[in-house]
């Protein structure tokens, strides 16, 4: 690993997967964009933190059944967690392949990560279809409003991530591995890894305590 305080061009990198840059100008442009993206990620993190706080507040303002014990099923949450965690690992392989200019590795690992993300969405879709089937819709009580809001916002982020990743693969295909698109994969991987961190918060705050009550 070439983690040093400055890279070859003397640019101190922002946090993220370290890339080799062809020249100082590209290095500066990439680092500036990565820092801007970190600012977005932190604001997104604040949004999710507040959604979880909203959930915690609404959880107690529950007008009778159904509560977490009737609604939350670890049978969905557990495979969803494993899919998202594994997609985070496979995306790091794509980032390392990009660092080493292995095109097939970038395509293959990015696509596998997106496929795992799509699997997560399919499971979450099945979970939500089951909720609707049992009449557990957001309007029923405070707990369900907060629950739908938190997992819905996260699921929407994952869906946007899958579309973004597919566009990224298409751009690599059309334009080749030019610096602008390489730096997009760096930002995409930051987005994807951060969504997994948000999911950790969701299953720690919502799913696991909710299933403990039962």
């Amino acid at each position: 690993m070439t983690d040093t305080t400055t890279d070859a061009q003397g640019v101190r990198p922002h946090a993220g997967i370290p890339l080799e840059h062809p020249d100082a100008e590209t290095a500066h442009a990439t680092e500036r964009a990565v820092f801007g993206f970190w600012i977005f990620l932190m604001s997104d993190l604040v949004v999710f933190a507040l959604l979880l706080a909203t959930y915690a507040v609404l959880l107690r303002g529950n007008t009778g059944a159904p509560g977490p014990a009737e609604v939350i099923e670890l049978a969905y949450a557990f495979p969803e967690t494993l899919l998202l965690l594994t997609s985070t690992l496979t995306l790091t392989f794509a980032s390392v392949a990009l660092r080493e200019d292995r095109a097939r590795g970038v395509y293959g690992w990015t696509f596998l990560s997106l496929a795992l993300g799509a699997g997560f969405l399919a499971l979450e879709g099945a979970e939500i279809a089951g909720l609707i089937g049992k009449g557990h819709i957001p309007q029923v009580n405070g707990f369900l409003s907060g629950y739908w809001l938190a997992i819905g916002t996260h699921g929407l982020h994952v869906a946007i991530g899958v579309v973004w990743g597919l566009i990224l693969i298409a751009q690599f295909w059309i334009y080749g591995f030019c610096p602008a698109i390489r730096s997009r994969l760096v930002r995409f991987s930051l987005y994807w890894h951060m969504l997994d961190v948000v999911w950790i918060a969701i299953f720690t705050v919502i799913y696991l305590p909710g299933s403990l009550v039962s």
């Binding site: 990198p13 370290p18 932190m42 967690t81 985070t88 961190v197 950790i200 720690t204 403990l212």
Partner: protein, 97 residues
């Protein structure tokens, strides 16, 4: 194996172990009551920290000072807004009882 792969794989293995432990506590009732909640919360916090270090490559030795300031600012915002919301709303809920 290259060091960067080793970091990612170690992060994945540690995360997987913590995930399994947390779900195990919830599913099989290895711990009871408040102890279970504390253990699940701790596992989540440690796993989030591992992700930030291993996958997002957050490391203040090599990166710029603004990264640290940004993260601290976000942490302060979250602490004020989440802590403040919970404090006020639970206090209000308590008084309504």
């Amino acid at each position: 194996m290259k060091r960067i792969h080793a970091i990612h794989l170690a992060g994945y293995a540690a995360s997987l172990a913590l995930t399994l432990a947390a779900f195990g506590i919830a599913k099989f009732g290895w711990l009871d009551g408040a102890l279970a909640l504390v253990a699940i919360g701790l596992a989540g916090l440690v796993q989030a920290a591992i992700h930030l270090r291993a996958f997002l490559h957050l490391d203040f030795k090599g990166s710029q000072r603004e990264d640290l300031q940004l993260l601290l600012f976000a942490a302060v915002l979250i602490a004020i807004m989440v802590g403040g919301s919970l404090w006020i709303m639970f206090d209000l809920g308590h008084r309504m009882m």
